[in-house]
């Protein structure tokens, strides 16, 4: 290798290092600004005592309801304009159902879902349709959430046709190109089919489709869970940039606690249809109060062998019980390390233990 080449390579490395540091600090600034903005914003979504009970029926001829799956059993939370609320919990805890209820893909058993002051639950089809444009969703599986027989351009344009936001075909095509570019894809991808793309690229298409009708609120349902580690980081950064650029509000449903910490302003932890803890992101991670949150955080392995050797591993026993027949009293008591007699009798309240820090536990 010649000296000039070596120098060029050195410069290149130095440049890479410098830009990384710049990106890092600009990211911190971006977050600080968004936290400040959110602190002053008003509520966009307000969920009050939401319940979703699915009937379980039996019998072939005379079907009768024998029980109910209490997928969501009385949850309340708010999301401010511009805020990202993380919703975490294990499979079957009701986090996806919560998202589906807000989207009105499920008809909630009881409770209220206020979007910008309007209760979505008793809205008729027509007014819901008008509001539905503002609420979009990004799904987990980029393989099954894109129609394999539609071209990428058609997939992204479809919501604009449904909501008649861009009646003109040429304008739609232009918008599709713009959205592809915005999501980090080559505009020529509009003519391709989903099977010609990788998982990360498909997820970008899913994001472009959600953005096509200029929504205010996006529900990200495990939007990065199916992606590889190196691709996950690309999509996280994209979601963050879009949030700041378009002042979007996210409900970020996920089970990866380290990603949630990186992306969210506030976090709600669900267990068996209930929110067991809700707090500001830093507060929840630095100072988890509910024993389930503590167990959940302790179960996440940290990518550093040295840290792992010294870390206390308190592993929660047992498994999540069936939501058809949940335990009496506090639903977590059979697995809880703090449980006392009373926990099996009394249903704990969702109470504000510290300003902004809500817990459903009568022991802490």
């Amino acid at each position: 290798m010649t000296t000039t080449q070596t120098n060029a390579a050195k410069d290149e490395t130095a440049k890479a290092a410098r830009t990384a540091a710049e990106v890092e600090s600009s990211g911190h600034e971006q977050r600080r600004q968004s936290v400040e903005r959110v602190a002053q914003a008003s509520d966009l979504v307000n969920v009050r005592n939401l319940k979703m009970h699915f009937p379980v029926s039996e019998g072939a001829l005379l079907r009768r309801v024998v029980a109910h799956v209490k997928a969501i059993d009385g949850i309340s939370f708010t999301i401010r304009k511009g805020e990202t609320l993380g919703l975490v919990g294990e499979s079957g805890c009701g986090k996806t159902t919560t998202g589906r209820c807000i989207l009105q893909l499920e008809h909630a058993t009881s409770g209220e879902i206020l979007f910008d002051g309007t209760n979505l639950i008793d809205l008729d089809r027509k007014s819901m349709m008008a509001l539905r444009r503002k609420i979009q969703v990004i799904f987990q599986d980029p393989y099954s959430s894109l129609n394999p027989r539609m071209k990428i351009g058609e997939i992204i344009a479809e919501p604009m046709q449904v909501h008649k936001t861009e009646p003109n075909k040429a304008a739609r095509d232009a918008r599709v190109k713009e959205l592809l570019k915005l999501c980090g894809l080559d505009p020529r991808f509009a003519g391709r089919y989903p099977h010609e793309m990788s998982g990360g690229q498909r997820q970008r298409v899913g994001i472009a489709r959600a953005l096509s009708v200029r929504p205010e609120f996006i529900i990200c349902d495990e939007a990065i869970s199916a992606l590889d580690v190196s691709i996950q980081a690309q999509i996280i950064n994209l979601l963050e940039d879009l949030r700041d650029e378009f002042d979007l509000t996210y409900l970020f449903i996920a089970h990866d606690l380290s990603v949630v910490r990186h992306l969210c302003h506030r976090v709600a932890v669900m267990y068996l249809g209930k929110i067991v803890e809700l707090a500001d992101c830093d507060e929840l991670y630095n100072n988890p109060l509910h024993p389930y949150t503590q167990a959940l955080l302790a179960a996440v392995p940290i990518p550093d062998p040295e840290v792992e050797r010294t870390r206390a591993h308190q592993i929660v026993k047992g498994e999540v019980p069936s939501p058809i027949n949940p335990p009496s009293g506090c639903v977590f008591h059979p697995r809880c390390r703090l449980a006392v007699d009373n926990c099996s009798k009394e249903i704990p309240e969702f109470r504000e233990l510290r300003p902004g820090h809500w817990v459903t536990c009568s022991v802490v």
């Binding site: 990106v23 890092e24 294990e90």
Partner: protein
Amino acid sequence: MAKLLEIENLQTQFFTSAGVVRAVDGISYDVNEGETVAIVGESGCGKSVSALSILRLIPDPPGRITEGSIRFQGRDLLKLSDAEIRDVRGKDIAMVFQEPMTSLNPVLTIGRQLTETLQQHLNMSSEQATARAIELLGMVGISDPARRLKQYPHHLSGGMRQRVMIAMALCCEPKLIIADEPTTALDVTIQAQILELMKDLTRRLGVALIVITHNLGIVARYADRVNVMYAGRIIESGTADEIYHNPRHPYTLALLKSVPRMDQPRRGKLDPVQGQPPDLTRLDDSCSFRPRCNFVVDRCAKAPDLETVGAEGHIAACWQTQKVVESLRKAS
């Protein structure tokens, strides 16, 4: 410690209509007795295929092990007859798969599936096998094992099924267990239970473990040594401490930097690896990470061999390891 498994220049290829997929492209590594070795990498990097190749479970056609040797306790597994390799499978080397739902037979009871292996490999009578099956289920932490034996897989939760899979893997007292993404389908708290169980049992019984995963946290917690794979090759290998604290290959470095860490202050922006992994039908002589690498130079047109870059057998395949060292120093 004695070497249990020695893999040398293993190549597994799939002959498809789209071309020859070089899924595993000449990998070599050893596993010592009682040791836990992790293979990490992203989807399609060949980690599962490399593991399936050990037991010759590659569907042929389209797949074929085209070169290399896999010596297990001195015997080359690739030279064994079909009957001989069948005897190794499940007895000396057992596997635990990712999806406990699809890897258990839904129409057979748990008991039938457990005792089958015992009767097949150890010539036990059915009473002996049942007694041993009950003992094994107890060992993997399943309550009321005698009743469980009569149940079918759909009666059990995902975590329970994975426990049954582990019991099946352990039933012939193997020397080596290959676990392919054993906890990917499970929830975090159940994942922790299963991993602790596997660690405890392998330590106690002195079983070596090859764990295949994409989760860097799991590797850090459980592995003694780590092989990092990219596009069908091992690009870096070493002890867990060396790999995490002194990564030398730009891909390893990039992987570690791309995940947010819960134990560190929140970072402003994540550092993703740009671009996509390469098409495995179109690999050439160049370093396959070249298009995504921040440290690329002209020499990368020819992929380097693995060379010693650190203590305790730490090796990496990169011309620019010195630059990686510099960038690490600058960052800290």
